[in-house]
Symmetry: C2
Subunit: 447 residues, 2 copies
């Protein structure tokens, strides 16, 4: 334990290093290598082991913003054994690879490159036999980066249908139900293509709660929804006359039993299949906790599942920080409150910012003069909204400095304009792209 | 520790008994008797002692919704020594008293009874000499219940000025600054009247953070605002031509030094004065914690300072509960999460409910199928919004029951209509008036 009390500058440095420790723990290569160990001809993945000499071919496929460094880590472990492979990644999210091809594609808007890459990935999956092993590297963004429509449909059909569902207020669950039933990849369709090969999916979660069938739309995961559910949704919103005719026919055909439904839990397809979360928000939090404890802070992990309107969520966090100062609940200072997840921002203005910077700005308003609280909120991918910052770091004196600089915090907050506010104050958290993404990390230090 | 696992019904019973324990700890008479002990001719209050035989007269004055039972407790302790007294309470919030008169008055809208009672209270205060002891019993609602304008102003002048400030978007701090400078009681003016008698104020806090100068507008507490601040506010909103002329003249006169400003910290008035918080939200929480521990729960006190939009605050609470089930953070089950404070509801619909019932309804949506979570949110005064319920208790099966009963929770939530929803389900928390108020208490059990 370091000597305390600390000054605010030190606390800010601590917050940054705790954040960095959290992000480092979920770096794609670190996550792959923590989960996968090579010993001679064996590859140990979690509690399974795979005899590499047993397989005729080993393929690496997948998609996602972090999939290139995940594939690179696999190449470093078993590169000599990989026969072939292809992954779709976001433009500029590449790594130099040897056995695995990379296709750079559009995200968040899918494009032709993505479609072409997805087609090649499905071809590899179909080529794999029962004597082969297919390793999938799946991460956030994998849904947009693997855009392949079911036979008879086009990407445009899917997009038009999604737009109509959005416009009539369908829930995200309803939209995903339709999407999975218009796709040749999502909702377990990729696992279907891989079968009868052995399949191991290494999954970096960017989804609250780490639901396997949500991350990248669950290409290797059993789907619980049916074509008949899609028909119910089409009837519910009365959009049968609005969606493309071939989509309607496709769904009707499926509901009538003429197209096989997405693979379900219990299907033999999944007998030789294993889906593993290798990195997620809680792991980043726990690594950050470890780093904070090393620095002498008492730690409390609130939750990795935090959602809600950003400024209200910030208020709850600062209420806990102020209670620590007031009564020593829930823990005594020096304290570190940790949380993760992903909040939302209901836009009121046209400013520039992101949910993490908005969190920090709202928090700064709540901790004026509290000696001493430091609040850091950052996206683990290094990007917060459409800015070059990961988030921001504020302290009990931030607003004082803002007022000296003639910046009215309420004006910036109400205009969702946190980026210029923090840029002027020098309080941005700039990490550059981290090549991983397990949503956001919030660190609040109270001394 | 009781035998666990528990069924949901038991957990719901536990939540109710934990809530009741929290409320009981801040009952006005309990709070007074915990803080004040009589030993022979001495009254020990906190760490001071008062020789009752030393005073010529002992007066009890004050105002607030809980002030009658507070005065009753004082009568039970030192009734034989009380010379005279008068308190203003809300209609029907009375107790049978012997030496202290009760005036029932309007709340939240002040009325003539309140004004008349306030005038008599100030008379008693002025009558007290340096040989006398004045005990004040102050609780929530005391501001509306002690409506006495400064000399030359009327209640209507004050109300009109407040309305104008509200209409032009002035902050609550700005409004209170003006209010204190238009009052013969608020902002330490009552302490001024009591001086040179010895003054002890027993204060039950219904305010987040327990700021002494905010509870009941701080009648016995130093004020930090000035007449000149009032002029600044009038200029800021350019309302000099809109507020009543005699208010403007009164403020100008004060700013020019012709009326003495409200008493400040360091003023001799406060040398013989002591303001004591005898009950507050954190004490209710800690008593609830004790009760939960007795029932075998691991407890975490989040904060007594929780504010923010109700449904977002609920989301943060349920995220913590679900993390407990998922990873055992921040504490292992069986767990009890406790928090207090007062959230807000931005009205979207015209339904019937209150912030506690809305909290429970929003929480119910987040815990569907989580085995097992129980959420209780209740107002410690026994009243939530304009309903006869203190709040509601929900569990992981509440929504299932709602759907069976053909109640769509989202429709009720979006219409701020939580009361009929819970009334139909039998999930209301009904305690009747508790005669105390330290804001809200939230209890979340996770097993």
């Amino acid at each position: 334990m370091n000597s305390l009390p600390l000054d605010v500058k030190q606390m800010r440095d601590h917050a940054r290093s705790i954040f960095n420790a959290g992000v480092a723990a979920v770096a794609p290569d670190t996550a792959v290598k923590k989960c996968c160990k090579r010993k001679g001809k064996y590859l140990y993945i979690d509690d399974h082991n795979y005899d590499l000499s047993h397989y005729q071919s080993i393929y690496v496929i997948g998609a996602g913003k972090a999939s290139a460094p995940m594939a690179k880590a696999l190449e470093e472990l078993i590169g000599d054994n990989i026969s072939d492979g292809l992954i779709n990644v976001k433009y500029a999210h590449t790594e130099p690879l040897n056995s695995v091809q990379i296709v750079e594609a559009g995200h968040p808007i899918p494009d032709q490159n993505g479609e072409q890459g997805a087609r090649l990935i499905v071809e590899i999956a179909k080529r794999a036999t029962e004597n082969d092993l297919v390793l999938c590297v799946i991460s956030g963004g994998g849904s947009a980066l693997l855009p392949l429509a079911s036979a008879g449909l086009t990407l445009k059909d899917k997009q038009d249908t999604t737009d109509i569902l959005l416009a009539c207020g369908a829930s995200i669950h309803e939209i995903n139900t339709l999407r999975k039933h218009m796709s040749a990849v999502k909702g377990g369709r990729l696992a279907e293509a891989i079968y009868p090969a052995t399949c191991v999916s290494l999954i970096l979660s960017d989804v609250i709660g780490d639901d396997l069938d949500t991350i990248a739309s669950g290409p290797t995961v059993p789907d619980s929804t049916l074509f008949s559910n899609c028909m119910d949704i089409i009837h519910k919103y009365d959009i049968g006359d609005h969606i493309p005719l071939n989509v309607l026919q496709h769904i009707q055909s499926g509901a009538n039993g003429n197209i096989e439904d997405t693979p379900k839990s219990g299907d033999p397809i999944f007998d030789k299949s294993n889906n593993l979360i290798i990195g997620s928000n809680i792991e980043a939090i726990l690594a950050a906790k470890h780093a904070a404890e090393e620095l002498g802070y008492h730690c409390i992990v609130l939750s990795s599942l935090i959602e809600g309107e950003t400024r209200d969520v910030a208020q709850v966090h600062t209420a806990i920080a102020r209670e620590i100062l007031k009564t020593g609940h829930p823990i005594d200072p020096p304290a570190c409150i940790l949380s993760g997840g992903e909040t939302t921002v209901t836009l009121q203005g046209g400013g520039l910012g992101g949910r993490n910077q908005e969190f920090a700005l709202a928090a700064a308003l709540d901790i004026i003069g509290c000696n001493n609280i430091v609040v850091l909120s950052g996206g683990t991918d290094g990007t917060d909204g459409p800015t070059d910052a990961a988030g921001a770091v504020v302290d009990s004196q931030t607003l004082k400095r803002a007022i000296s600089a003639k910046l009215d915090p309420m004006v910036f907050l109400n205009n969702n304009d946190s980026y210029p506010f923090f840029k002027k104050l020098g309080d941005l958290l700039i990490t550059g792209p981290t090549k991983t993404n397990v949503m956001d990390l919030r660190i609040i230090l109270v001394v």
